[in-house]
Symmetry: C2
Subunit: 211 residues, 2 copies
DNA sequence: TAGATTGTTAATCGATTAACAATC
DNA sequence: TAGATTGTTAATCGATTAACAATC
């Protein structure tokens, strides 16, 4: 077979499968593509095809071993080792997300995405901490990203500053950005950008409203 | 032509086009599918095809009138009239989102999605207000949704309560839910659910991280 | 008129589904 | 062994792209 890049549609479903496995792991040791699919909202054939991109994880007549598959998926998604994350823009949304992730990381031993630094431009915030996390000035991004081995960032700055800040994150060497600002980011292909744009989602949902 | 439901892939791009139009409307009165596409990150042929589902909005040799197309898109997405929204779960994320939407609605006259009520179960919160928005008990949802004509809701409760609360929202007659809780919701087909699940997005981005 | 750009058709591409031989 | 379920192939479905006649 000639090698093809695995599509984003496939990758998007893996965290969903991971969540299902986590939900069922207390009460069963194995799971069929049928059941996994039901719980994830995906057809069983597609579950098998998705997993088959990465290896042969199941046993005919039995299904998939829950703990084993969970571990394999975690490896595939690089969630078997710590990932260092920054958050840029310590406004009310930024603070809420920082709290959430900080707590999640502490409480869930399988949650390996570790928020290690916050950035802002407000001199009243820079130098202080939030939940024990240091707040640095955005100007220090390049040094801190390298020093703290930050690989991924959540961007929660105002829309007007989003492009500029995203550029700085890219320059600093961050590999992936989850953008909460209502703005489309123009960045080179080597950074992966995901949008968490609430306005876009709400406007889309509005289409389905009747009367 | 026999009628087909317009696909969600198309609907998702409309708010993106709307944003581009808003960005350019100060400096130009018309825009080509080429330019609109460039700014939205979509191929020009697809822009034309998307718009053609709803009518003939352009002029050959000229392009689309910015103000006219903006207005048409707003009508298509039901954003030409107020939409009443509730937020359920007044934790730190809920508060941050409430603030954001409240302010956005006040400052941007074209932003018609109006947050009108908050819900929670905490007796210390129920009966108080946040930014002038009343906080009701979740038990009152059915009455309030009807009385205040609430059509859409943001769900920011803990994962464990998400399914139950979503069910209550559905029973109350809410037509669309934007779910922030890390949980897959099982709801009848008549409610539209969108996921704003940060964990899922981060886990997906982790796949693309190298080393 | 000449140039630009639409709306639409047909071609292509990619993702999902159905079916089934292999095998636990 | 009989039943269940995988991994995989081929068929189907749907979305995107390319091309172009129509026309501003």
């Amino acid at each position: 077979m000639t090698w093809k890049r695995i599509s984003d549609a496939v990758i998007r479903r893996l965290p969903l499968y991971l969540r299902v496995l986590d939900d069922v792991k207390e009460k069963q040791t194995s799971i069929s593509s049928q059941e996994l699919g039901d719980l994830a909202g995906v057809r069983p054939a597609l579950v098998r095809k998705d997993l088959a991109w990465f290896g042969e994880f199941g046993k005919q007549g039995v299904g998939y071993d829950v703990a084993f598959l969970q571990n394999e998926l975690r490896k595939i998604l690089h969630l078997n080792e710590p990932i260092h994350m920054a958050l840029v823009g310590v406004g009310s949304l930024g603070r809420a997300l920082a709290r959430y992730h900080h707590r999640r990381f502490q409480e869930d031993s399988l949650y390996t995405i570790k928020l290690v630094a916050l950035f802002d431009v407000d001199p009243n915030l820079v130098g202080t901490t939030l939940d024990g996390l240091p707040i640095f000035h955005t100007d220090e991004m390049a040094e801190r990203v390298e020093e703290m081995k930050i690989q991924i960032a959540m961007l929660t700055v105002p829309a007007d500053n989003a492009q500029e800040t995203a550029g700085a994150l890219n320059d600093a060497g961050v590999q992936a950005i989850l953008n909460f600002a209502p703005a489309t980011l123009e960045l080179p292909e080597n950074v992966h950008v995901a949008s968490a744009d609430v306005t876009l989602e709400l406007q889309r949902l509005a289409y389905y409203i009747e009367k």
